[in-house]
Amino acid sequence: MKILRFLVFLFFVKSLFASGNEIELKSLDMVVEIGGRAHLSMLHTSDQSSFFAGKIALDRDKKSDDFSLNARESRLWLKTKTPTEYGMLRTLVEIDFLGTKGGSTSKNDYYPRLRHAFIEVGGFGFGQTNSAFNSIVALDTISYPMDDTLVRQSLIRYTYDTKLFAYDISIEEPKITLLDQNSSKSITKDNLPYDLVLRARYYPLWGELGISFLARKILQDSVVDNTKDSKYGYGVNLSGRIKTFALDDIRFNAHYGEGSGRYIAYGAFSEGTISSSGEITLTPVYGGHLGYRHFWSEKLRSTIAFSYIGADNNLDVLQTGLHKVTKESHAMQINLLWLPIKNLLTGVEYAWAQREVLSSESGKANFLNFILRYDF
């Protein structure tokens, strides 16, 4: 990691004091750090599926095997820290290149995508970053578990941090998708109150534990003719890590929610359904994962993990297009990661996943993912 230290000295000539002329020297000590990663990913999939709960291809849509090679997961970040009277003011701006799926065949011109733009001081934070509802611990795998709880969005957050505990209250960007009777997604945008997330984290010697509560209002205004309806949605997310032997650990996640759709599994599920009369029914979504990480040596480690996600969609409303609506997905991942030199990570992961949709059709896929990554 390269560190640039800028010492900016501001000189102020103060007005005359009774005793005579005085010069006051004020210094602003801002440290700027630049870092990132260069990441090469080689992925082989059995049928051009993506390893996400809602994107495993159904058997009827089977395609040929696919092999891809890209560096889109490379990242670049810049962060600063400045001491202030309210504590350290820290900022972060980070981009990656995952926003563009396919670059041109000759130049692979992937465009930058904003990941984080966040400012934090005195416990307050604002900008775009990870939602407080996200799991506090993630699996040490190359691909994501089916039930992954990860949302990045604009938010305002207050954190009260102690040595053993941390508590957050976060007001976050609201977005809602509802499924209509044809199983098509409608996005409601108007007059939405912000999502509220409360989170508590515990850092004992034996690991980490976090629980988040999400409260939100799901509403529609004129999505169907001139109708209006609203429901209160919620979600609970429990995640953690328990250390076992030496550096080994168990990592887990469990969640349940009604109307928590987009916070889980990268939008595989909607918040609810909307009937022809405009009535909203919230969709219960539930899932979890469990993984064990083992260190074979200081430089060699493996994780084996299982994940599941499912939802109870309202079949009284959904009439057609049921093959588009995911009912449940589950997956297994196993990997071997090697650190030949500090900050250079390479490894291979095999993953298998299955998805079932509301029309009772299903699809299975195999993935082999090889990475080469250097963090600087």
């Binding site: 990691m1 962060k79 350290m88 980070e94 990870n130 611990v137 993630a138 941090d161 550096l247 200081e298």
Partner: protein, 143 residues
């Protein structure tokens, strides 16, 4: 007979006492090693922003500081008999000075953690390592 029994049992207790202290010292040292490894692994904690990772690093550094404080207190509280009969008063003073230095190192690590000065940690830990090695070289065989 009674005198022999007391002598033998006191010998055993003393040995067990020494072993416990050595074991505690080893456990704390192993804890230090694991914490340092966990610090190195923070970069691979997925789905955390760089600011979150820095907070994690800060927590590990504070734990490192706590562990060094415990080690320092253990050394400080060792009695002359714990240190062995061959040591002179000067040696004991030297030993206690190592403990004091360890405590000062812990204070510096706390300070670095609060300032998010992670880049200076490795240098500080090198100092701790040099100090530990010097102490072990001088006193471990005596214990």
């Amino acid at each position: 007979m009674l005198i022999i029994l007391i002598f033998v049992s006191s010998g055993c207790v003393s040995k067990e006492h020494d072993n416990k202290k050595a074991l505690k010292h080893m456990i704390q040292s192993e804890k230090l090693r694991l914490l340092m490894r966990e610090l190195d692994m923070v970069v691979y904690e997925r789905q955390k922003s760089e600011l979150d990772r820095d907070k994690m690093r800060k927590r590990y550094m504070l734990s490192l500081g706590d562990t060094l404080k415990h080690l320092s207190a253990e050394i400080e509280n060792m009695s002359e008999s714990d240190l062995g009969l061959k040591l002179t008063q000067e040696d004991i003073q030297e030993y206690k000075r190592y403990a004091k230095n360890l405590s000062l190192d812990a204070d510096e690590i706390y300070d670095l953690a609060h300032k998010y000065e992670f880049e200076l940690l490795n240098k500080k830990l090198e100092d701790v390592k040099v100090s530990c090695n010097a102490c072990h070289k001088q006193f471990r065989k005596e214990l």
